[in-house]
């Protein structure tokens, strides 16, 4: 069958199971767009290519499938890069298709030419420049295989315009043969044995669960493991949803804004079981003083992560679910009552200090907003957050029982992620209740995608947490820069009027009593709604480990957190 390169592109995408792509057309990708009309693919026209990249990312995180974004050469491709870097840092399986100038003018500074494979080299798992129609099928096939394989990630295929236009015999490569041995190594029995011996000897064991739990579908196995071995579980930010907070072994989030008793437990444990996490600096604090008293078992699919930041005693390379299932066969039941009692003791007055226990005194606190959002949605929503204070409060106060229900930018910390990622999530899971939780700063970075949301008639609800500041940066300025608020006070538009301009219903909430009714009204309206929560301006997220400080040296919640006069 003789097809154009553009047709071959879509033939391959459809065969990969792609039914939705996010993109923006332009000169160098026009042949692909023209051919698209012949294929059963829903194209979501974005307002900025960064949005397309985050949508593909949100789509992938919500569904576990590969998300696809498409853009033209030059500025189209460079606009994707923030989203590609985000997908790279958080290991999200995504494929990016970009148009490129015709092969005969490559390197001539042609109109809208940019070295896209050069630019994206360090922020992709792999990329390829295709100059010939005959190479498109193999490049696309490999892109999907690489994006999914092992530790997932973004792959970019840059296709010259003449390659899209050229005609060639279409042969679909049924198999993918990559150089080297790309299969996950077999799980070594002796490693399992060494790990089990450490577990048997441990008196204060602790599981550190990361995104690998979600990515490998290891949730059930992890619950069985924690229950059988009687080991408490601390979660990374991206591990949230991988282990239910209602489980008796669940301690909650670790790290910079984790609870102090969780971090204390990490520092005092005699065995850490790191499952599908990478010891990011936001969870370890100062590496020199991190968890000095423990042996460490690290189960991780990416061999280059084992021993990268923290030396470990047993490193097991493999799919977490398979490793846990292999361990479960021989895992003896144990009890660690003294250890649980100790952690309970460390909790101390944590609950009493919790802002949820404090009266609101007529003020609107973000923790209360998140808590009431959690209650009103029955804990069942897919929440897509932006980056900053609201993100940490969401992680602390929305209790995610199910995997893939918190979608958030972890490693890169990309402001502007929430709205487009939520559009992607909603496209992937149209039946899910999807909420955006964003700050006034991040929301304004990609608010143009409100038009995309409306154009696709998506029922997504948006909570803009407006404190009039770039709140997390302001918090650092308060703590570490003598309250010199350089460039953090932020002017925002009238968000309700802004929503109205896009034909989206808007509400403004200024008191706690209005939160639940507004949330309920938004979720029952059957269409998109935006709620602006005008919250306390100068609240800080507690507890906090200052960047680079010892994990146990936390700034704890003031007591009481509320009720005292706050200077405005």
């Amino acid at each position: 069958m003789i097809l154009t390169g553009a047709q071959i592109l879509w033939e391959c995408l459809v065969r990969e199971g792609v039914d939705t792509v996010f993109g923006y057309p332009g000169g160098a990708i026009l042949p692909a767009y023209d051919a698209m009309l012949e294929y059963p693919v829903r194209h979501v026209l974005v307002r900025h290519e960064q949005g397309a990249a985050h949508m593909a990312d949100g789509y992938a995180r919500a569904s576990g499938k590969v998300g696809v974004a498409i853009a033209t050469s030059g500025p189209g491709a460079t606009n994707l890069t923030t989203g590609i870097a985000n997908a790279m840092m958080d290991s999200v399986p995504t494929v990016f298709i970009t148009g490129q100038v015709p092969s005969k003018v490559l390197g001539s500074d042609a109109f809208q030419e940019t070295d896209v494979t050069g630019i994206t080299l360090p922020i992709t798992k792999h990329n390829a420049l295709v100059t010939d129609a005959a190479d498109i099928a193999r490049a696309v096939r490999e892109a999907f295989a690489i994006a999914r394989a092992g530790r997932p990630g973004p792959v970019l295929v840059d296709i010259c315009k003449d390659a899209q236009q050229g005609k060639t015999e279409f042969v679909y490569p049924e198999t993918v043969e990559l150089p080297g041995d790309r299969k996950a190594p077999a799980i070594r029995k002796e490693d399992i044995g060494r790990a089990l011996a450490l577990i048997a000897a441990a008196e204060r064991p602790l599981i550190l669960a990361g995104q690998g739990v979600v990515a490998s579908g290891a949730g059930q196995a992890l619950q069985a493991f924690a229950s059988t071995a009687d080991v408490p579980v601390a979660l990374t930010l991206l591990g949230i949803g991988g282990f239910p907070p209602s489980h008796p072994m669940c301690l909650g989030m670790m790290g910079m804004h984790g609870e102090a008793y969780v971090n204390t437990a990490i520092q005092e444990a005699d065995l850490l079981l790191a499952f599908g996490m990478r010891f990011d600096d936001r969870v370890t604090g100062n590496l020199k003083t991190y968890a000095q008293r423990s042996k460490k078992i690290h189960v991780e699919i990416d061999p280059s992560e084992i021993g990268k930041n923290v030396p470990v005693d047993v490193g097991i390379v493999g799919d977490l679910r398979q490793v846990l299932e292999a361990m479960l066969k021989e895992l003896p039941a144990k009890r660690h009552q003294a250890w649980h009692d100790q952690i309970e003791h460390w909790k101390g007055d944590t609950r009493a200090r919790d802002i949820l226990r404090q009266p609101d005194n007529g003020r609107l606190h973000v923790a209360h907003v998140i808590n009431d959002l959690w209650e009103t949605t029955g804990g069942g929503a897919v929440v897509v957050t932006d980056v900053g204070q609201h993100q940490m409060w969401e992680a602390q106060y929305y209790r995610h029982e199910q995997p893939r229900t918190l979608i958030t930018s972890g490693g890169l910390g990309t402001m502007g992620f929430a709205l487009p990622a939520a559009i992607g999530a909603k496209m992937a899971r149209p039946d899910a209740e999807v909420w955006v939780v964003a700050g006034d700063g991040g929301f304004q970075m990609t608010q143009c995608e409100l038009a995309t949301l409306q154009q696709e008639r998506l029922d997504i609800n948006i909570a803009v947490i407006n404190n009039g500041y770039l709140g997390m940066v302001r918090q650092w300025q308060e703590f570490f820069y003598d309250k010199r608020y350089a460039a953090t006070p932020l002017l925002s538009p009238d968000f309700v009027a802004l929503a109205g301009a896009y034909g989206i219903e808007g509400h403004r909430v200024t008191r706690r009593s209005q939160v639940a009714p507004a949330v309920q009204a938004a979720r029952s309206s059957g269409r998109a709604a935006l709620i602006e929560f005008q919250v306390e301006k100068e609240e800080a997220v507690y507890p906090m480990v200052p960047a680079g400080a010892d994990l146990h040296a936390m700034i704890r919640r003031p007591q009481p957190a509320v009720g005292e006069e706050v200077a405005r």
């Binding site: 494979t117 050069g118 080299l121 360090p122 798992k125 792999h126 490999e142 690489i146 990559l178 150089p179 080297g180 041995d181 990416d302 061999p303 280059s304 084992i306 021993g307 990268k308």
Partner: protein, 186 residues
């Protein structure tokens, strides 16, 4: 110490860029990197020397393996290997000093490959230490120009073939120049 990694990579455009980009982005410190042909036309062979005081060789290898065009990576540091570095050295040499320099070169089985008024060009092949030793002796005369290839390495056949009965395998180094240079009389 220094670790030697041998990587086989697909011979396609941009592979060296991917490897170099990886080293730069991960802030890996590399002493030397050589690229050349291998026994298979589709593959090139890289020899990478890592300074393990500053960069862990196992992390370099693990990260290299993640690059799609990298076929395999082996740390040969603790295996019996033949390692060679080649240097072209143009050394200051007045007319009357030629016999002296030639004699020195002969001791290192280096060859004089170019003669010019006031200078000689030597070609030397051997372990990095041997090349260093010759350079140390030539330096007082004035080294006008030098080009080194960086190290290439290959595991000895006794190990590759699975019979590691040749002691530490280093016993044959006395014969290195002949074996390295046979048939290359230019």
């Amino acid at each position: 110490m220094r670790h030697t990694l041998v990587a086989r990579v697909c011979d396609q455009p941009g592979v060296l860029n991917r490897v170099a980009s990886l080293f730069r982005r991960r802030a890996f410190n590399i002493d030397s990197l050589t690229v050349g042909g291998s026994e298979t036309p589709a593959f090139s062979r890289m020899t990478i020397v890592v300074d393990t005081r500053r960069t862990r060789a196992d992390l370099v290898a693990a990260n290299l393996r993640k690059l799609v065009p990298v076929v395999d990576v082996q740390d040969v540091t603790h295996l019996p290997t033949v390692e060679r570095d080649l240097a072209l050295i143009r050394v200051r040499c007045e007319d009357g000093e030629r016999p002296e320099v030639s004699e020195l070169a002969a001791l290192f089985r280096a060859r004089v490959v170019d003669v010019a008024p006031g200078s000689l060009m030597l070609e030397v092949t051997g372990s990095e230490e041997k090349v260093e030793a010759l350079l140390d002796l030539l330096r007082p005369r004035g080294i006008l120009e030098m080009a080194r290839t960086g190290k290439v390495a290959m595991v000895r056949g006794s190990v590759v073939n699975g019979c590691n009965g040749n002691g530490n395998g280093h016993g044959n180094d006395a014969t290195e120049p002949q074996s390295a240079q046979s048939g290359s009389n230019g």
